[in-house]
């Protein structure tokens, strides 16, 4: 594989980000650096979630800590976007003359959470509503404003939805009704898709 150019040369990391990374382990103490990287990882993985504030990070030099936090989030996102492995990340950071303990910590955190970072970034961008959950209920009418007697047929109320990753709250995407024949034909269509997926996997 062709070796990527150093971040400064490739223009991937801005001067602000590089300055923020250089503060780690220097202006910001090694202990606080660890804490800051852990916090930045949480921000990257769960930007919608409520993350407990860490006041000690901002006690002495708030502006610098904010800049470093931004730098770490950017670094993790860009490394994931470009599919760097831990070795490549380390190499890129070495070029920037960053504190070695900070490089160690950044590389460790990146490698340990790479899978989650990839999954997170898969969800970003434009997507159609993604169905992960399906709910159903069977109901039969007894009487209605237009009819004194039942249709005598059970209807299926199908609700397709997904769960918000941050809160776990369920969101309905679409809801519709069908009878037994229509439901059977829907199942057949879905099975047809599944069959095609399996064929593709084998091919």
């Amino acid at each position: 594989m062709e070796k990527p150019p150093p971040p400064e040369d490739s223009g991937l990391l801005s001067a602000t980000v590089v300055a923020g990374l250089k503060s780690l382990g220097n202006i910001i103490t090694p202990a606080l650096t660890k804490l800051l990287i852990a916090n930045a990882l949480k921000l990257t993985l769960h930007p919608d979630a409520t993350i407990a504030p860490v006041p000690e990070l901002y006690a002495s030099n708030a502006a610098c800590a904010k800049q470093s936090e931004y730098a770490v989030v950017t670094l993790l996102s860009l490394a994931t976007k470009h599919g760097w492995d831990g070795f490549m990340l380390r190499q890129q950071l070495d070029h920037l003359s960053i504190n070695s303990a900070a490089i160690e910590e950044l590389t460790r955190v990146y490698e340990d959470n790479r899978k989650d970072l990839v999954l997170r970034q898969l969800q970003l961008g434009h997507n159609f509503p993604h169905i992960t959950d399906i709910q159903w209920r069977i109901a039969c009418d007894v009487k209605s404003s237009t009819s004194d007697c039942s249709t005598g047929v059970a209807s299926f109320y199908i609700n397709l939805g997904h769960f918000r990753p941050s809160s776990g709250e369920r969101v309905t995407i679409v809801e519709f009704v069908c009878n037994a024949e229509e439901l059977q034909s829907l199942i057949n269509r879905l099975k047809e898709i599944e069959r095609h997926c399996s064929q593709m996997a084998v091919a």
Binding site: V118, Y157, I187
Partner: protein, 234 residues
Amino acid sequence: MSSLRLSQQQRDHLTLLQRPASDVVELCKLAFDYLINGPNPSRYETMAKKYIESCSPEAVQRAVEALISLLISVTTRVSVNTSAHMQSVLRQTFPELSSDVLEVLEQFVTSKRNFVEGSIKSANIRAYRLVNLNWRLEVRTASRSLLDQCTVCIVMKLYLHTEPKNENRELLSVDLSDRSEQELATMEEDGRRHRKDVIVQTDVSSLVHMIKTLEDALAESKTRRVRNIVDAIH
């Protein structure tokens, strides 16, 4: 066993049923035609001249409309399980009619029962029904946030409609050739109001989960317990 409660006006309009069964068959055919294509005055005029010398085309139309009203009443007010039950209800409602005519009427109300049931009973609160599904299997190879990826994704377009049932929608389809532009625009607007297309996506494991869950629902509907309840309500 109870008879149907018809208004005096309805009974007056249905006096044309007191004719030979062959004439009543023609009236029932006109009623079927009315359900699908709407009123057709020229046919009522022909009918009035040909079979029923002593009546006006308006009287034929009123009889046709009263027949449709009867069909709706039978479907929505009477819970009928057997042919004998239906015959008995009709006999009690129209004691003056001959058994030939009653037989024709029974065939008329039975044959269109499902049509009316779908159109009226389930249509008072119209939920969206799934009428069609298109799908596409995609492999996403890159995105702005992740350049190197290989994600299998199934995109589905769900066609939803608030019309009661597939078979009824086909029956309700009309000939568009001799409609005015304004009528066509109104029909299109009406169609748009009752239609919704939704594009969604899913992954293979969620798809398998969906199939399993829907099969559970279908299996549950076939259990003795659910069948007993539905039969008891009906």
